[in-house]
């Protein structure tokens, strides 16, 4: 008997997150279930706004939902906010592997956050490490970040900007190009993937890489209720397809990211790679951000300190 699952996404049908993410998941689910499970993708907020996707999944209105980590890290799934902490990630694939370790059954995040919420993450799709990827002003030293107006996605990244002496600015991603061009902002915390898709390297001549200001991204989630309504074979197909799609995504973006960095450097972007000493200095200055996050969530009864340690350990493997 054939089951059809509705997958909702806020991303446009042509966005990499759909083509190299949701679509891969859908195809793999089809293959692994021997054609028994079919996934209908509704991109571009057709099945629900980005903000309501988590609730739609929980209510059973959508079977698989694409949820931006930044939208759930404040309220629904605060431990997912570990992705927004500075100085942890090296590559997207390392982060993805680590998230699977913490988010799979028995893992810290699964047991303390996903399970109590009745939510299961099928696939993790983080972006490559964020940083002041492009900047109007030259950044060679950590002290160059002082007073820099930096667009960021909010959440813990706002704290990171402040910890480094910058001025956090909030604006929607499509507005960044003009803001950068006009000098309304000096720099933007992004991956080079986003820099390329908004063409930002054409309006800012400096940039940095080599230190993660966080790796936000998307989660493909499903409710436990819906998951448990499926046969064991189908469940296994979903789990495996989720892992395959995640690994496909991370190798894809890691590759594209390094290609972009190379192209932009060749095209004349003045790219600074943080030195080991500077990384240590950045870590020192942003240590308070991680501590504050952990303290705040520990206070709410979430094992945030443990999660950071486990996440660090998983990344070190």
């Amino acid at each position: 008997q054939e089951t059809t699952l509705r997958l909702g996404s806020h991303l446009a049908a042509t966005a990499p997150g759909v083509a190299e993410g949701s679509q891969v998941l859908a195809d793999r689910i089809g293959e692994l279930s021997g054609g028994n499970v079919k996934v209908d993708i509704f991109p571009g907020e057709q099945a629900g706004k980005a903000l309501q996707m988590y609730d739609l999944v929980k209510a059973g209105a959508v079977d698989i939902g694409t949820v931006a980590t930044g939208y759930v890290s404040s309220d629904k799934l605060p431990l997912i906010g570990v992705l927004e902490l500075p100085g942890l990630a090296s590559s997207t694939c390392a982060v993805t592997e680590a998230m699977f370790e913490l988010g799979a059954e028995g893992g810290l995040i699964y047991e303390n956050e996903l399970k109590p919420n009745g939510i299961r993450v099928l696939a993790y799709m983080p972006y490559p490490p964020y940083g002041p990827a492009v900047s109007r002003r030259d950044i060679e030293q950590v002290s160059d970040l002082q007073g820099l107006k930096m667009r960021n996605a909010g959440g813990m990244m706002e704290h990171t900007v402040v910890a480094l002496g910058g001025v956090p600015v909030k604006m929607s991603a499509p507005e960044v190009f003009q803001a950068l061009q006009r000098g309304t902002i000096d720099s933007v915390l992004f991956s080079f993937l986003s820099v390329a898709s908004y063409d930002l390297q054409t309006v800012a001549e400096h940039g940095t890489t080599g230190y993660s200001f966080g790796t936000p991204g998307d989660l493909l989630i499903m409710s436990e209720r819906r998951f448990n309504s499926m046969s064991e074979d189908e469940q296994n197909a979903l789990i495996e397809a989720g892992r395959d799609a995640s690994m496909h995504w991370c190798s894809y973006v890691d590759q594209v990211e390094s290609d972009h960095i190379e192209e932009m450097r060749e095209a004349g972007l003045d790219l600074h790679v943080w030195t080991d000493e500077q990384v240590a200095e950045l870590n020192e200055k942003t240590a308070s951000v991680t501590e504050e996050w952990a303290a705040q969530l520990d206070g709410r009864g979430k094992p945030a300190t443990e999660v950071i340690e486990a996440f660090r350990a998983a990344l070190a493997d």
Binding site: P78, E84, K149, G154, E158, V167, W293
Partner: protein
């Protein structure tokens, strides 16, 4: 224009009940109107000051976007849902309805409101549920300013709840008015055309 129907008999118990509900709801709606206007002026002032500080003093107000998006826009767009319905401010296609006899018009509008009641009711109840959940969990915005997220949901929930009461009021009494043929019971509303400047779009 048809001649206005008059109802010489003294107001019945039903009519008095309707008036009572109307007055109570109107009092609440007046409060929501004041809050909504304040929210709109607040949006104007905050965005203006943020912009001026950004361009002139090079120091934006980081909290403005969050305050506007979380609270003021919801308040400005939704708080007066009920007030606007009562004052016939929600656009509708009148041409065909105006061709119908008055009594049929009242019946159909009453039934339409009664049909809308469960829909808006579900919206309100679900939103109240989400608000309480958020409040119990102590959800705050993770960022420089830990703003409570339940308050944002509460504004929407409250707006929908007042709207639901108004829809029930208008649905019940318009239907009764048509069924018992007592125009006095129907909720009288001004036509938007009486105040063209207020249509505004």
């Amino acid at each position: 224009m048809p001649t206005p129907q008059t109802d010489p008999s003294p107001p019945s118990v039903l009519a008095r009940a309707s008036d009572l509900v109307d007055r109570a709801l109107s009092a609440v709606e007046k409060g929501t109107l004041a809050l909504a206007v304040l929210a709109l002026f607040g949006i104007m002032v905050l965005i203006f000051i943020d912009g001026v500080l950004r361009y002139v003093a090079n120091s934006p107000l980081t909290f403005v976007v969050d305050v506007v998006v979380l609270y003021l826009i919801s308040a400005g767009f939704l708080l007066v849902l009920s007030y606007t319905l009562r004052h016939n401010g929600h656009i509708h296609v009148e041409v065909f309805a105006d061709m119908m006899p008055k009594r049929l018009q009242r019946l159909l509008s009453g039934l339409a409101y009664l049909g809308a009641a469960p829909v808006v009711g579900i919206m309100a109840i679900e939103m109240i549920h989400l608000t309480l959940e958020s409040y119990v969990q102590g959800e705050v915005l993770i960022g420089l300013y830990p703003m409570p997220l339940w308050l944002s949901k509460a504004i929407v929930a409250f707006s929908l709840a007042v709207l639901e009461l108004r829809i029930l009021h208008m649905g019940i009494f318009n239907t009764l008015s048509a069924l018992t043929n007592r125009p006095r019971l129907a909720i009288r509303m001004s036509l938007p055309i009486d105040n063209p400047e207020e249509e505004m779009v």
